[in-house]
Symmetry: C2
Subunit: 325 residues, 2 copies
């Protein structure tokens, strides 16, 4: 089977050299750098050649593969759920943050910081089975609309990044998501949205528990955080779940710094990519002073470390998967 | 590419129907049951057909894929390391259990229970980088010999189970290890021993931490336990890492009970397998009263639940991978 697949890959590589694998990327340095890198690590005659088994690519999700403004989309889901739950049982609003969230006071929510966001997500997500939760997210993502753009959230994935994921897979890479977002939240839609199956999603995780509930073996979501897949947690999560150091890594904020730092260190060819949100017209423009997607060290140190800063306004001729622009 | 691979799979299925995929299994009911199951879930014309993406198979390691007597092999590694460390720095022996372990008092070690074993493993494993640890285990496994059989530990994997793993993979299954053993310990040898790559190993994990050590981005092993992949932890670990319920699951002790219970519940075809250690001549005979691999509920409830109890003495014509017997 391996032989047949290898022949098929060779045929596809030949094909993709003719067709443009990244049509939503403008023909400038960023695109050329990506295509050169992939070409060199997949060419058996190249000194940079990397065997398929070591071709691991990881990507942050919020702000890297889809948008994250005005706030993380998972938080918007959590707020919807929290309002529903509080309407049925107001006693769950055990803190000022939760009360503000249920009342829709977004300023107070934003001011509550990362801890407040976690509190809201936990209060809204806990108490269901993983299966029921995933089904609920899948239903929500099919019907909910973004508060300002008024389109489904899955229309707000980035077309150029979808092309990059597909290009890498066509060239023998395993593509993973490594996100601070919740693992079960993401699994509800990322296979359809990005072609990434559940076993290639690494994320933050609440505490889960196995129990036989009325005769049915079940995985339950409990309150509490088991793992935060952000900052220094990202390399730890990758080591724990993949056990290999990726050679291609993409992010957009300082939450990705350690992952980029680790993955681009050591011998052999490595590619670090940062999506820089520079496009106030088609998307949003933000970096150093944003409460989501804050990017400081990546901007200051990234270029010297050889990381590619993708300038969304200049490097992408199309932003959204859902509509040309 | 998918089309090419599918054609290749069909060719291989045809081929494997002629060659015996499980030559080390005697031609009795256990073998027939396995082959029938795999045939039915891989035949697109069968009502039991399962798409390749859902063909997930998980196996316990100690006592299921390789031996576990007189004690878990990881403990033998830990004892070797502890003695080395204590010779250089006796102060690390901070408890009676650790002192007994360093002195080679195996009775005291056995009596210290699961907590004592964890204490020994932690004291011996912590303080290295993951890379250095993995290299050390790899060196050990190449040179160390089993205390009573005097062969390398990797000669003590079970040939019939290696054949089963290969058979499942040839038939489009993803094969995972789901073990109470340490994830980094296993990764040092399981790819070579079982053909299972690092990203398909689920295990217990110590606390790890990312740090830049003298300029080098590093994953460090700290003291402390992050996750125990045993009993009810096994379904939790599978849900967290794979995000799908396996359809084929193999174990050997009550540490696998919840994993078997969960994976064999629900709709569709499912296969539960328990390796029953009945072979005092070629391997060991133990179940209800053993301090490792204790099997009570699996024996009592397994048959009614439809799980296959593999009788090592009767069902396997060869035990060891390393030598015919
Ligand atoms: Ca991000
Ligand atoms: Ca076992």
């Amino acid at each position: 089977m391996r032989l047949f697949c290898s022949i098929a890959v060779v045929l596809m590589v030949t094909g993709s050299a003719i067709a443009d694998p990244l049509p939503s990327w403008n023909d400038n340095a960023a695109k050329a750098q990506i295509i050169d890198f992939v070409g060199s690590v997949t060419d058996p005659a190249s000194p940079e050649y990397v065997t398929p088994i070591q071709r691991v690519a990881v990507f942050d999700n919020d702000g890297t593969l889809w948008a994250e403004k005005p706030v993380y989309f998972q938080l918007l889901y959590a707020l919807d759920k929290l309002k529903q739950k509080a309407a049925a049982n107001p006693e769950i609003l055990t803190s000022a943050t939760l009360e503000a969230a249920a009342a829709g006071d977004m300023d107070a929510v934003a001011k509550s910081g990362e801890e407040g966001l976690l509190e809201i997500v936990m209060a809204s997500h806990a108490g269901l089975s993983v299966d029921a939760f995933t089904q609920d997210v899948a239903n929500w993502i099919k019907s909910a609309k973004h508060p300002t753009r008024n389109v489904p959230y899955t229309d707000m994935t980035y077309q150029p990044m979808l092309e990059l994921l597909r290009f890498l897979r066509d060239e023998g890479f395993d593509t993973y998501i490594v996100s601070g977002g919740g693992i079960h939240f993401m699994r509800a839609f990322v296979e359809e949205a990005y072609g990434i199956p559940p076993e290639k999603v690494i994320g933050s995780a609440g505490v889960t528990r196995y129990a036989v509930v009325e005769g049915v073996p079940t995985i339950l979501k409990d309150p509490g955080i088991a793992f935060i897949d952000d900052k220094a947690g990202k390399p730890v999560g990758i080591d724990n779940k993949i056990g290999k150091k990726p050679i291609f890594v993409g992010g957009n904020s300082d939450g990705d710094f350690e992952m980029l730092e680790w993955a681009t260190s050591g011998d052999g060819p490595r590619f670090g990519l940062i999506v820089h949100h520079t496009d106030a017209e088609r998307e949003w423009a933000y970096d150093r002073n944003s409460h989501v997607g804050k990017l400081v060290r990546g901007l200051d140190e990234g270029p010297d470390r050889g990381w590619l800063l993708v300038d969304m306004a200049k490097d992408w001729n199309r932003v959204w998967s859902g509509s040309p622009n």
